[in-house]
Symmetry: C3
Subunit: 271 residues, 3 copies
């Protein structure tokens, strides 16, 4: 890596690597987004698997390039499955992406997310601002699973969380903020339609997981996944007429996205 080798260039190469390797991304995720998560991973060029039975986690994680844990429709059985998967992934060196959906909205969600954070040692946490504030202990109670805070309000909490939990934190919003506790980046672009489609944050977590299987560092994987989201959303918005068509054109855009498009369109700045 030389000085001439910019972060956007590296992200472009990661996209090529992802399509060549087709990393297997193991998801234990919520019931609302399973279909769209799998489709986004396939459209980008990764290979998704959704599996939660304790009896097969050891076998399946032997092939996985990343494990994505998402607590969106958690219950005791699924929490046990996520904890077991996190332990196996830790043993096998499979990087974990944690999506703490609704942390702050119920005590169960906050406590579960914190336990997965502490015991699972995720490489990356991808969340909305309210969830990051809840995990950092900096927020009160949140209404539902949609953020009631802006990314700017969560930047300090994100840096603190990244340092204390030794992970990369990606906060998504109109502007994304991504930090490993030292370096930090902001990503602009995307489309205002994205928050009107369910599970786009969950999709971001899954794509970050796909890049975790090919990128040099968790920070680079997180920036790559978030950048791909922003650029594909922006391309989709050029022809969509609402959240229905946006959702489908977004999958088309993921599938057609070239490294050149990604490099040219991404709006990345150091924070």
């Amino acid at each position: 890596m030389t000085n001439a080798d910019s972060l956007p260039d590296r992200l472009g190469r990661d996209l090529l690597a992802l399509r060549e390797k087709a990393p297997l991304v193991h998801n234990i995720t919520n019931l609302v987004v399973m279909n769209v998560t799998a489709n986004a991973l396939l459209a980008l060029g990764a290979s998704p698997i959704m599996a939660h039975a304790g009896e097969e986690l050891e076998d399946l994680l032997g092939f996985a390039s990343a494990l994505v844990l998402n607590i969106g429709t958690l219950d005791s059985a699924w929490i046990a499955s996520m904890e077991q998967a996190a332990a196996i992934a830790g043993k096998k060196g499979v990087p974990i992406v944690l999506d703490p959906v609704g942390a702050g909205a119920s005590r169960l969600r906050t406590a579960t997310a914190l336990r997965l954070l502490q015991q699972g040692s995720p490489a990356i946490v991808r969340a909305n601002p309210s969830e990051i504030l809840a995990l950092a202990g900096a927020a009160g109670v949140t209404k539902g699973v949609d953020s009631t805070h802006t990314t700017a309000e969560a930047e300090t909490a994100a840096r603190t969380l990244a340092q204390s939990a030794h992970c990369t934190v990606a906060v998504s919003g109109a502007v994304d903020f991504i930090t490993d506790g030292q370096t930090a980046w902001r990503l602009s672009g995307g489309s205002p339609l994205m928050p009107r489609i369910t599970g786009m944050g969950c999709t971001a977590s899954a794509l970050v997981g796909a890049f975790a299987g090919v990128s040099a560092t968790p920070l680079q994987a997180a920036v790559a996944g978030m950048a791909v989201m922003k650029v594909a959303a922006e391309i989709a918005a050029e022809s969509s007429e609402g959240p229905g068509t946006q959702q489908l054109y977004f999958l088309d855009a993921l599938h057609r996205l070239t490294p050149e498009d990604l490099i040219r369109r991404m709006q990345l700045a150091p924070a």
Copy 2:
């Protein structure tokens, strides 16, 4: 409210109020439709949450404007969750919408729907004609979850059910019939493609739930939700070429729907 203040005018204002308030709609619904239900609520302007863990129902229902219970893929664990949620919602004064999917098709479904009706005291029941006939004790066994009766056949049963259960009943079909046991309305329009898309009845129940968080009465909420369905389906059908594109254009139409469109296009008549 004056004489000049017609029901369509009030529904138009409810749509504005919904978008301003973004009511949190808590859904305990079936595994088939969770994604499309969440997307329809977001497209219209509401905020969906899907959550079934007993441990968090108390926390989450503290913020909810409505609770939608849908038995489409019921089992003993989910039935227990729905009963617990109904009890909490009753205590907190959160209005309940009941969607008795497949009542009449199995004894488990009929019995569960009747128990939720009796113990949960829903403000609104939204169902297809066969399900209403089953709940009113007026029908034999039904094949599957699609209606084998017309709305006209279920009108008397709907009135009886509304009176005996002290709730509003919305029967969906080519013509919808909505009654609180006293007043009744019929809604025409929509698109014949809608029964070829899974979960459109479930979506109707969820949108009725969103309006239950802003409308003056359950009857008005039910008419608003059903009218929005009919009008958005009709707009979508103007450019769709089958049930696939219809489903997406429907979400676009929900998102773009103005109070003026709604008022101008709805085909509402007293029954």
Copy 3:
């Protein structure tokens, strides 16, 4: 049936019969594909039901024309449900379609698929090449749920499996291979976008199930379901721009497909 009555002609008539009868297809399937499976069945003209509660299987299977068992997100509760449903279907003479998703990828999946094969006596097994090789005992461990083998590699295993398990086997891939152990057919066409959409194999299994309710033999049902998939995928690909739009145009194409289109476009050859 005369010599003039070719297999394509019979498949065209089966499509007409399917739309007239609207067979009820009972699915116990995975959490990722439930929505798209139901939509594909509705778009084609069948009537889907998704239900897994042991307490209602006896009631619901009384009306079913076929039972589709899919182990894509299996766990102990769902496996028990599938085994119970298989036993009831066997007793009632309801034909079973087995989709052994991920057989070969974990010991749990391979063992469950083999048990359902042996105890459930499915009329038809629909799977990808890696899964067929795993069921036939001819393959090692597979990565994930996507096939790592071509159909050609699995043809011998498919014939052996069909003979030993006394069922029809449909192997899907760029070229499909369908055999009852005696006769065998190959189907070409379709679109390279289909493997970039999650659950298209599961959809194929469900459509085969729909035809099992109307076709003269399991072999004919399997060829009909697979042919409809190939032709609808090909029509969709003429206007799609990626896997997002392909998925929706595919549903539109299923809905609009005529017997004449099916007969004219299918690329069927004896193997």
